[in-house]
């Protein structure tokens, strides 16, 4: 899931970053090596080591896969949301940003940019059900009054933060199409491989 990403000196955008993007100040997109991603991650400064960050990455990817499947989203949308989260956490520290909140916002945002949008309330319900391992009806008994409205606001704020942090760079090129076309040439018996490829 390591993707192309843009790296500039101001990656350590403070939490008080402005939603104020100067598009022309960007540099050309740069490919970052695995080492660069690992050593430059802002999470390092907050005492989160490489191994731990890998765990965190796995956890939000697993969460996104689960959430996307529940919402009936295509794999490309889910994959894009994962890449956007990776791009986000190359610039922002895990210590300051709840990864599941960021992931929920990323999936909601990707739905809008890839024409597979789901109503925000559906996304929020499914997301809180997964995080709580509880049926939505039960949550209103378990959580304080007003939690849903608060969750709603937080996710919308996370969406805006995502847009500024990524500077609206939301396009992701997936390997799915070229991969499936190659696999199709291998013959129809390779559907197992195609399914596998879709879940890379």
């Amino acid at each position: 899931h390591f993707s192309t990403t843009r790296f500039s000196d101001d990656t350590s955008i403070s939490p008080t970053c402005k939603l104020d993007c100067s598009i022309f100040e960007d540099e050309e997109p740069l490919l970052m090596s695995r080492d660069e991603i690992d050593s430059h991650s802002p999470s390092r400064k907050d005492g989160i080591d490489v191994l731990h960050e890998t765990h965190l990455r796995h956890s939000y990817c697993a969460f996104l896969q689960d959430l996307g499947v529940r919402l009936g989203l295509p794999q490309t949308t889910i994959g894009t949301a994962m890449v956007l989260c990776h791009r986000f956490f190359v610039r922002q520290s895990h210590a300051y940003h709840d990864r599941f909140l960021v992931a929920t916002a990323a999936l909601f945002l990707t739905g809008k940019s890839e024409e597979t949008s789901r109503p925000l309330n559906d996304v929020l319900r499914a997301s809180s059900e997964i995080l709580h391992k509880q049926d939505f009806a039960m949550l209103s008994y378990l959580l304080p009054v007003g939690w849903f409205a608060k969750y709603h606001d937080r996710v919308l704020e996370a969406e805006q933060l995502m847009l500024t942090t990524l500077n609206f760079e939301l396009n992701v090129h997936h390997p799915y199409a070229p991969l499936t076309s190659v696999l199709k040439k291998l013959g129809p018996s390779k559907t197992v491989l195609i399914n596998l490829a879709l879940h890379l």
Binding site: S14, P15, T16, K18, L19, D20, C21, S22, I23, F24, D26, H52, H55, L56, H58, S59, F63, P74, T76, Y96, H97, D98, F100, L101, V102, L109, K112, S113, E114, E115, T116, P119, L120, N121, I130, L131, K133, L139, L143, P144, W147, K150, Y151, R154, L156, E157, A158, E159, Q160, L161, L163, T164, N167, F168, E169, L170, N171, H174, Y176, A177
Partner: protein, 317 residues
């Protein structure tokens, strides 16, 4: 500050997460730089918001600012803004409007563009079309150059119409704008949204083709070209645009559009013979008429591409 660390399980309390996470808490709301532009004139007012002509108070630069309100808090940042900004940041071309800045407050977004003078629909209305053949040719060429650039970047505009095409009056340069409906195409992406503007909508879209592609933009260019010649939308006022298209160009058959009979919606249309386009578009040179026919080709597979259209004899001189 730091949340408690857990790995792949999500058992910790959601509400505790909300309280602990510092994402956009009260102390770190987005700062908003003072709106340092002075509004000179309202250029356009649409359903999404307004376009203003503004001057920066410090530098004196003139810009166009499109202000988009998001009144429905259930939607968050509107998808048109998400698309327009994410795509326009990738497109930098003389015939495509350049986006300079994005400024946001809680309830609206300001997209700061290079200054725009006038859109093509105003120009056509004020001048009864684009009567000067060399200006008309130059406009069409520039529109095609912009569209070819978008398509080379795998981006469909999907809402090309005279209102979305701007003219820099002093240099007569065309700027394609409004990428709110644009999106990437190709690969396994789903195309589910249909362009809203019926006057410039391609026949395959009316037939609910799920796999439309770059041809829809070329159809729109053809409609705009025709409108520049006759001074009004080529389809005119009608309640069934597809019927009007078939009346003008003839009802297609399996011969000139293989697969046409597969569309369930197709069966209900009467058989028309094509009109003589040289009388409909009487002011147009023969080469121009030939190119117009290639743009308004009913079968999307045989419709000319932007790249090929630019090599057409019409542009020889």
């Amino acid at each position: 500050m730091a949340e408690e660390i857990d790995d792949i399980d999500y058992t910790d309390n959601l509400f505790m997460r909300l309280l602990q996470c510092t994402l956009c808490g009260q102390n770190n709301r987005f700062n908003y730089e003072g709106f340092s532009y002075k509004i000179l004139q309202t250029i356009e007012e649409g359903i999404y918001g307004r376009v203003y002509r503004c001057r920066h108070s410090a530098t004196g630069d003139i810009v166009a600012i499109k202000q988009i309100k998001f009144d429905d808090e259930k939607i968050g940042v509107p998808s048109s803004v998400v698309r327009e900004v994410s795509l326009l940041r990738a497109l930098q071309h003389v015939n495509i409007v350049s986006l300079l800045k994005v400024l946001t407050k809680e309830t609206y977004v300001n997209l700061v563009f290079e200054p725009l003078d006038q859109d093509l629909s105003h120009y056509i209305r004020d001048n009864r079309g684009v009567q000067d053949p060399s200006i008309r040719k130059s406009f069409l060429r520039q529109i095609l150059v912009g569209v070819a650039y978008c398509h080379a970047h795998k981006i469909l505009h999907r809402d090309l119409k005279p209102k979305n095409i701007w003219i820099d009056n002093s240099r007569m340069i065309i700027k394609i704008a409004d990428f709110g409906l644009a999106r990437e195409f190709g690969g396994d992406m789903l195309l589910t949204r249909y362009p809203p503007n019926r006057y410039y909508r391609a026949p395959e879209v009316f037939l609910h083709c799920q796999h439309y592609s770059s041809g829809i933009d070329l159809w729109s260019v053809g409609c705009i070209f025709g409108e520049m010649v006759i001074g009004r939308p080529i389809l005119g006022d009608t309640c069934d645009e597809l019927d009007a298209i078939f009346r003008m160009l003839g009802t297609p058959s399996e011969e000139n559009w293989p697969g046409i009979t597969q569309f369930p919606l197709f069966g209900s249309y009467a058989i028309y013979n094509p009109m003589d386009l040289s009388t409909v578009f009487s002011g147009l040179e023969p080469e121009g008429l030939e190119l117009l026919k290639m743009l308004l080709c009913l079968d999307p597979k045989r419709r000319i591409s932007a790249e090929t259209a630019l090599k057409h004899a019409y542009f020889k001189d």
